[in-house]
């Protein structure tokens, strides 16, 4: 736990990842994936700058990791089947 200057490493180097930064709370719109329309082309996965479209196993439908999704909407815009809709956060 970092509490004092004494806890800093001897040289300025990183100690942990950014994964505790929940960038999901930047979001005003969230993507909703319609599995009826989705053809699992994974174009949404390919173009997500925040690695928030996740594909667990081959053949799975993509899911959205809302902890990190910043709600940019690229996935919805790039989806060839209009299977992703951006909806306002509650």
């Amino acid at each position: 736990m970092l509490k004092s200057y004494k806890d800093m490493p001897s040289t300025p180097v990183s100690l942990q990842s950014t994964e505790d930064i929940m960038t999901g709370n930047w979001r005003t719109m969230r993507p909703l994936i319609d599995e009826e329309k989705c053809i699992r082309c994974y174009i949404c996965w390919k173009f997500c700058p925040d690695m928030s479209i996740e594909v667990e196993e081959a053949d799975d439908f993509p899911t959205v990791n809302l902890d990190y999704c910043k709600g940019c909407g690229i996935c919805a815009n790039e989806c060839p089947k209009d299977a992703i809709e951006m909806v306002r956060e509650e």
């Binding site: 970092l2 004092s4 200057y5 800093m8 490493p9 001897s10 040289t11 300025p12 180097v13 990183s14």
Partner: protein, 396 residues
């Protein structure tokens, strides 16, 4: 083995003896022959190092910062404009704990052009976070570079070091230099082994990433501690060096014949030896004068220098640079260090600028001035420019 070489060659051989792994060099007078000698040593295979031809001093320092993060022992050399161009990367190197060792053939900063010696280049970098060691002769240049690696690379210090040799006055003067054997240096100086380095063995890290206000002050505090630890380390390393090689230089400061002196002059770099001759001659004539050789300007040896208050009744400080709007840099800091209600009077002498020779006569006049003022118990002016054309007649 005794070699008859310039301080520049001594610096190059010191790099070789220190088994430097990466060199980045850009030519500038009067440093150039260091880079050339190293290229020669690498070319002949006498030295096993990677030699990077860079397109500027700024890039030389940048390349070494990169190489140092991968755990390589690194070396470059520069002067004057080159040092000024490096400025940004000097601060970076210190801020991210890269223990680079760099001789500086000290030369005046230009505008208009000058290529000759003074300390204005290195003084301009006193706040860069580097250790700064001034050398009196070619032997000290060689010894100090080897010692500087040991000090700089200490895991508790990890701070870069400038080893300063007065341009031309040392860099181009040949003297006898006792060259230690490679095995002896290997035994004294272990390979560079930092706690953090990119070696693909430990987990991946980001080096030198963004540090926000919540931790910046703590970061600076840590760097301050790194530098402060240098003070003890210098003395310790020198003691070890003396044991092995038989030479030592007095730690952070050398007090030369100060014990029963009435007045003392603080001086750094190449004029030190000249001043020692003057002290000896004046002592022979019964004048009680002493000399203080400032070896380490960073870290600043305030605790050592304050002893002067008890040793002598007046102190002069000789600066080979001038800080516009203020005075000599050594003077300002030494006056601060000596300040107390019972502090002795202190006077600043400026000289040796832009290659002006610092002669024995100049130094003798300074001592005579100090002795005369000491009789009156106070200084006349805070600052005198030595041998200034049109200045006070006593310097003629």
């Amino acid at each position: 083995m005794m070699e008859v070489i310039t301080s520049n060659y001594a610096a190059a051989y010191a790099a070789k003896l220190s088994r430097v792994e990466v060199i980045a060099a850009y030519p500038i007078t009067p440093q150039t022959s260091i880079s050339e000698k190293l290229a020669e040593l690498v070319d002949s295979g006498e030295m096993d190092a990677k030699y990077i031809k860079v397109e500027s001093e700024h890039s030389a320092m940048a390349a070494l910062i990169g190489a140092s993060h991968v755990g390589a022992r690194t070396f470059t050399a520069t002067s004057s404009q080159g040092l000024a161009l490096m400025h940004e990367n000097l601060i970076w190197a210190a801020g991210v704990n890269r223990p680079i060792v760099m001789p500086v053939a000290a030369r005046a900063l230009s505008g208009p052009w000058t290529i000759w010696s003074d300390h204005s280049d290195v003084i301009s970098e006193r706040d860069a976070g580097w250790m700064q060691f001034f050398c009196e002769n070619n032997q000290e240049t060689l010894d100090m570079i080897i010692m500087a690696y040991k000090i700089a690379e200490d895991r508790e210090i990890m701070t870069p070091a400038m080893v300063i040799e007065d341009g031309f006055i040392l860099s181009h003067t040949v003297e006898a230099v006792d060259m230690p054997l490679q095995e002896e240096v290997d035994d004294f100086l272990p390979p560079f082994d930092p706690e953090f380095k990119i070696d693909f063995k430990s987990e991946p890290r980001r080096y030198a990433g963004v540090l926000a206000p919540d931790w910046w002050q703590e970061h600076r505090y840590r760097r301050m501690l790194d530098m402060e630890r240098g003070k003890e380390k210098i003395v310790e390393v020198e003691r070890d060096f003396k044991r092995r090689f038989g030479r030592s230089y007095g730690g952070l400061v050398e007090f030369y014949r100060c014990d029963d002196a009435d007045v003392a002059l603080v001086i750094a770099g190449a004029p030190t030896g000249t001043a020692k001759d003057v002290v000896d001659e004046m002592r022979d004539r019964g004048k009680k004068v002493g000399l203080v050789k400032l070896r380490s300007f960073r870290p600043f040896p305030g605790e050592e220098l304050v002893k002067l208050n008890d040793m002598v009744s007046m102190v002069g400080v000789f600066d080979k640079s001038y800080t516009m709007g203020q005075g000599g840099a050594f003077f300002q800091e030494i006056r601060n260090a000596l300040y107390s209600p019972d502090g002795v009077p202190i006077k600043n002498y400026i000289g040796g600028l832009g290659g002006r020779d610092v002669t024995k006569k100049n130094i003798e006049r300074i001592f005579e001035d100090l002795l005369a003022l000491n009789k009156e118990g106070k200084v006349d002016r805070i600052i005198d420019w030595v041998a200034l054309k049109g200045g006070p007649g006593r310097w003629e």
